[in-house]
Structure formats: structure tokens, C-alpha cells
Point group: C2
Chain length 150, copies 2
């Protein structure tokens, strides 16, 4: 077991699962995003580009919801993408509170080029599990995530 805590059986079991979950998420994140360094992209920047690529233009609030990040964080990440010309901010003329973030041509070219590497890295990272185990992992994580997000 991964915990040194002396507690009830329930506690030790939960702590063990917790530690393993955290370590798996850490290791997989590091491994999956290793290839991003080549393009000088951070994980957050990649996440934003990917969301815009698959969902189309989004206002910053919605981008934050997708990435589970705060408003202020999105402001900074979009700033840095904008500096590199990978996205464009467009103020919504209908409701001037909204800033809609669009992929630029350069940004689209980049995410199109590197997304296949991302998929390959994810497949590789999970290849130690059989297909049915991957599905079971997804099922358990969905339950845990849902409860914790309440």
C-alpha cells in the first residue's frame, strides 16, 4: 500500500486509491505532454488550442469551463497565445462583455500538426491496460470525478 497512515481499513484503502490516482495523473500528464516542449507550448496552451480546434471559437468564460480554470488564468493563457499569433481576440459586438477567442491560421496549422502526436502519446500511455481495463478505469474515474465536483 502506498500510505504510511495507520488507520481503519476504509481509510487505508481510500488513501491508497487516492495516492495511486494522483501519481498516475501526474505521470501520464508529464509523459503525454513531453512532445509539447519541441513546439514551446505549455500544457495549458495546448489545452486551449485543442478546445478551440474541436469546439470552434469560444468566449473566455466557456474556455475556462472546458479547461477547469479560473477567469484570470484564461486571460493570461490567451494573452500568451495571442502574443505568438496563435489565437485572436474579438470583442462580441452583440454583447460587449464577451471576448471571443478564435484560432488564427497559424494556430490552426499548429494544432492540426501536433494533435496526432497527442493522440499517439495518450494511446501509448494507456497501452499497459487492456481495452476493457481502460473502459473500467474511465468508468471509475467518471464516478469519482463527478462526486468530487459536487
Amino acid at each position: 500500500m502506498g500510505t504510511r497512515h495507520r488507520g481503519t481499513e476504509d481509510e487505508v484503502r481510500a488513501l491508497d486509491a487516492y495516492i495511486k490516482l494522483m501519481r498516475a495523473a501526474n505521470s501520464v500528464t508529464a509523459r503525454v505532454h513531453r512532445h509539447l516542449a519541441e513546439e514551446r507550448l505549455t500544457i495549458s496552451q495546448f489545452g486551449a488550442l485543442e478546445a478551440l480546434y474541436h469546439l470552434g471559437p469560444l468566449c473566455q468564460k466557456d474556455l475556462g469551463k472546458k479547461l477547469l480554470k479560473t477567469d484570470g488564468n484564461i486571460t493570461l493563457v490567451v494573452d500568451n497565445l495571442e502574443k505568438r499569433g496563435l489565437v485572436e481576440r474579438r470583442r462580441d459586438p452583440e454583447d460587449r462583455r464577451y471576448v471571443v477567442v478564435h484560432l488564427s491560421e497559424k494556430g490552426r496549422e499548429l494544432i492540426q500538426r501536433i494533435f496526432p502526436r497527442h493522440v499517439a502519446a495518450v494511446v501509448e500511455a494507456l497501452s499497459a491496460l487492456a481495452p476493457s481495463e481502460q473502459q473500467e478505469l474511465a468508468r471509475l474515474c467518471r464516478i469519482v470525478g463527478k462526486r468530487a465536483a459536487e
Copy 2:
């Protein structure tokens, strides 16, 4: 499924498990550490105190290995704990390259007081799963984490 990617069955399955794993880890981390704000402790600070509490004094290198963080990061986290008088740095007289980090009395009192809350929060976060499911989650995460850490 949690992905919009159009790909092979293997790809979609792996991406789905990956997304669920990440979201679960994120949500559980946020939930489990919610109580730390009361004590104005960060997650990293809590992790360092916990490691010192359960493993005894550690040099910064070893602390970094436990927390999976870089040297420079540990320097800062220990700095901030030291400022609050929760830990003490002691240069190893045998090998003056090493700085051994000790819990102070104040630090020990704090971690002893809040650790039970941490355990309770972890148990709560995982309570949506049956005991056997928690064990299965731990098993799958261990496999995935091990592969990714290679």
C-alpha cells in the same frame, strides 16, 4: 464519450480514459484540499509537512522525490514553510551539501491537527466507489502510472 476526436476505436477509448482520469484527479485534488485554505496552507506545503511527519526529517532532494517536484521548487516551498516557522533547515555537518528539513514544534502541531481532516476528505471523495472498486481503481492507476513514469 468525453472526446470529440474522430479516430480509431483504440484512440477514442484511450482518449476517453485519459480525459476521465485527468478530470477525476483535478476534481479530487480540489475537493480534498479545500480545507487547507482555512490554515492558509497550499497543497505543496501540506504535502511537504505530511512527508516530514510520516517519514521524519528529509533532505530537500529526497523531499523532491517524494513530492515529484524539482529542486528549485522544493527550495521555494521550504522557504515559505520556514518563513512561517513550520520547518527548520539544518545543514548536515557530515556532508555540507545537504540541507535537512525538520518539522518544528509548531509544524508538527499543525500537521497533527489537520491530517485527520485530510484523511476524512479522501475517504469522502472516494466514497462513491465500493471498496472493491476503490481497489480496482488503485490497481489500474498503479499500472498506468508505472508505464508512464518509465
